[in-house]
């Protein structure tokens, strides 16, 4: 898998390159916004399968990385991008999700210390899935809960929804909550009924539907 990595801090970039290479990725590393955009839009053999992007990049040291990623996705819809940031910002999460094509992820930088989870996130995004940091999800859920929209869900259903919104498959949710997969499927169906979302077999669309519902 060919991964574009945009990170301006040498220590982090070095660590990320190693981690990705250890898991069989071919890494193209860049350290600023303009070259990130070029790398993302590369054609033919050098076209990336996924990108891991830091929000803050030179030359502006503001949200250059995010802007480059959004611009690349405007020009090439569905281009898989995993954003890594020191902070998770709801506004940025919304901007990433706004297109509705999926294949996006937004994680706190320190999640890379859990190598398996990080690589899993990269793979899921590359496969068209959506991965959101638990911080984003819990905030969204809290907010919706306070507005009484998902107050009808049981605690277990809420746990399932939270993991589901993070982009996990039924098997992973079952493992995480120590319940059977058929129980997860039952909870999922119940959540969709209560939230009035048409269920879909596709994991990615399922998450997008949940997030789209939550972010209203």
């Amino acid at each position: 898998m060919r991964v574009v990595l945009a990170e301006d801090l040498f220590l982090l970039r070095d660590g990320l390159i190693r981690t990705l290479q250890e898991h069989g990725c071919e890494v193209v590393a860049v350290d600023n916004g303009p070259s990130l955009l070029r790398a993302l839009l590369a054609e033919g053999d050098s076209a990336p399968d996924a990108a891991v992007v830091d929000v803050r990049l030179p030359p502006t040291f503001t949200d250059e990385g995010l802007q480059a990623a959004l611009e690349a996705r405007r020009r090439r819809p569905g281009l898989p991008v995993l954003i890594l940031s020191q902070y998770v910002e709801q506004l940025y999460a919304h901007e990433l999700l706004a297109g509705g094509e999926g294949a996006v992820g937004y994680l706190l930088k320190d999640r890379v210390t859990h190598t398996e989870q990080f690589i899993d996130a990269v793979r899921r995004v590359a496969a068209g899935g959506t991965v959101m940091d638990p911080q984003v999800i819990s905030k969204l859920l809290l907010r919706s809960d306070a507005r009484g929209r998902i107050g009808t869900l049981t605690q277990r259903e809420r746990d399932v929804l939270e993991l589901m919104a993070e982009g996990r498959s039924n098997a992973a949710i079952a493992g995480g909550l120590h319940i059977s997969e058929s129980a997860v499927a039952k909870h999922t169906a119940s959540i969709f009924t209560k939230l009035r979302i048409d269920p879909s077999a596709d994991d990615n669309r399922r998450v997008l539907a949940v997030l789209a519902y939550l972010k209203r």
Binding site: Q86, Y87, E89, Q90, L91, D110, T113, R143
Partner: protein, 424 residues
Amino acid sequence: MFDNPRTGASRACVAVGRCQLASLHALAVSAMGSLVVLALLLVPVGVGFRLLPPAARALRVLSDRSRSRAERWTGVRIGPPEPLPVDRALNARKRSGAIIADEGFWRDLAWAWLEPVIGGLLVAVPLALIEYGAFGALVQPFIWRLINDGNWYAFIPVHSTATMCGALVLGLAFMAVGLLAAPATLRLHSRVSRPLLSAPRSSRLAQRVERLTDTRARALDAQAAELRRIERDLHDGAQARLVALGMTLDRATRLMETDPAAARELLLDVRRTSEGALQDLRELVHGIHPPVLADRGLGDAVRSLALDSFLDVHVETRLPGKLPAPVESAAYFAVSEALANAAKHSGAREVGVALTYENGSLRATVTDDGHGGADPSRGTGLAGVRQRLDTFDGTLDLHSPQGGPTTVTMEIPCALSSPKTSSS
């Protein structure tokens, strides 16, 4: 969104009433001015000493009333001069001396003599138009037959039904013009009075220096307190966790050979501790300067606040360019506080936030549809915001009648640092 719309007609009527009041007031002012001059003239014979202090005070009451009216009626703010020297311990002679030496007193007196001539005549214009118009429209139709000969209304000789109708129409027109002109006349009146009523330049400067000294001292205090808070947070939070992390790593290193399982436990512990330290640092940085504010500026930072709020927050921004960073920061934390208050105390469901830049100042209004009755003296949040805005010569107004809605209006005078270039 929660405006109380008042129709143009009733506003014009109110303005006419106010013109009438202002013209009566001008008469009182002229009488009081004469009285003060009389007192001054009587000073050489001694009686003036007893008469001058109360007369000067009464004149100040009138001028104060004009100042507050100018603001209430037309929004023209006029800074008052220093209060008159009233030292009760002094005798009448000395008290009069102090008053005569006071610059504000002489300005009051000058105003008392000019106001009837300039202001009084000005506000009389719409009144005269309306009264003359009323005569043409309401009285002429009944009296023109009685005084057939040589009865003129304005430029119309009224001697037939046709010309009477003309006079009637003209009279109505005069009334309409008078009504329409009344609000503008009031505004003009306030503006004309301002140079006479406002504090003399020297005392304005003195007030300003005093205020600047005050706000600078408070800004320095606040900054020192903020630095202490950051130092303490680092000391008790991230720093402590990193030390603990080092100690755990040390133990893990020693256990590696003898008890690999325990060492592994410790290393997992290290990871948890490092995550905690990162979280601490993240919160600390957010409290100093939110990253989204640094990345995107005030508009998007407030939008981001809206997304974090439990309430339905609608954000409207009309900022023509980028604001200075300290102003953005102050405005951000002020809006954040207002939103937090709305969420905690108001019982509101919806909140509107508007950011605009007009006449060289940033204005942020936060309006909720809650039950109102907010009291700025309770709690420290708004007081803190007010203090923060003070440093920028900014203001915070809280309007919160029982039953709501609550509106917090914040204004910070500032210059735009650069014109807007991006489209977002």
